[in-house]
Symmetry: C2
Subunit: 202 residues, 2 copies
């Protein structure tokens, strides 16, 4: 039997902005960095019960891994599969840090304080599903290259992604998904670039 793939949506996320959309169980989500070297932050919630949310800690527990890669499953706080990571052409993502916020920029006197943050860009679109700012947890930061040193420190280096690198997920439940083109130039080799995503049905 030949499986026919049908593209439902293909969209562009402009530099330092974000979006949100519904993704149905079984649909595929492909997120591409057309230029490379650009982070995209992803968060998701159970569409019918947003108190069930993407949990970094639970995902790391189930994977037995701190680097989430092809073949891993992203879990909810209730230990239920939300997204399966079917394909991953980059292999380097972060699931430890919080999305940057204006409050954080202000605390750290960041030069990014004049532009909107991923936290704001996510909330600005997720509020349509009644998700509050305090309900934005740790995002899965596609292509973010967080390096952990043996002395306990960490750094966020230039993304390892090349032009056209992508990840492909399958939704394991009905979801609302927030997705950004990361707004912090320092994490993206100095320039803010766009991200593309597709929703695909088998």
């Amino acid at each position: 039997m030949k499986i026919t793939m049908k593209e439902v949506v293909k969209e562009r996320i402009d530099p330092h902005s974000g979006t949100a959309f519904e993704l149905r169980q079984g649909q595929l989500l492909k997120v591409t960095a057309p230029t490379g070297e650009q982070v995209s932050e992803l968060i998701c919630y159970n569409l019918t019960d947003p108190d069930e949310w993407l949990s970094s800690g639970r995902t790391l527990d189930h994977a037995g891994a701190w680097l989430i890669r092809q073949g891993h499953v992203l879990y909810s706080n209730r230990s239920r599969p939300m997204l399966s990571l079917l394909e991953d052409s980059c292999g380097r993502h972060d699931f430890l840090l919080a999305p940057c916020s204006q409050e954080m920029y202000q605390q750290t006197n960041s030069t990014e304080a004049n532009i909107s943050s991923c936290h704001e860009n996510l909330h600005g679109r997720l509020m349509a599903w009644d998700i509050d700012p305090d309900e934005i947890y740790i995002t899965f930061k596609l292509f973010m290259n967080t390096q952990l040193q043996a002395d306990g420190s960490l750094s966020v280096d230039t993304p390892a992604s090349k032009a056209g690198d992508y990840v492909l997920f399958r939704a394991e439940m009905d979801l609302v998904v927030g997705l950004t083109a990361c707004a912090a130039a320092q994490y993206n080799n100095g320039t803010l670039k766009h991200i593309e995503y597709e929703i695909i049905e088998e």
Copy 2:
């Protein structure tokens, strides 16, 4: 001027159990592993607004570190200081993983499934402050010895703590704190032991 320390509370947390209590701004919290090799999971919320919660991701961001140690500050999701880590005789704690839950034990067919989990033990006491199970986020896991391998995998090894090792925090806002003696024998060198804590005023 001599500073006089006044002990307000000294309590024992029995093996595989948990507690919750209020901690006022400026009060000190000392958590001790009398036997060593025993994890204690800590979570906290703004006492007057529990939508402000202890954020692992925000804490790691502000610290520029994945190992949180003496001198670091534990931050809320709103990038405000909650607890300062004043003293730490062990130096090895985890802030990546979620507290174990019954749902997780069941998914992984764990042998721990017959005893209560840290998630349940925290919720059982925090419900008195109207905190729901879905509002229990990533705990600061005192003395948990999570080792990260270069290939992306992780393991939880025997705690590095010796008998009497402790951490001392100062509350930077009024808090409700949940605290456990970790219930998963595999993380505690095979036996479940008790934890002690003191609330101290300067």
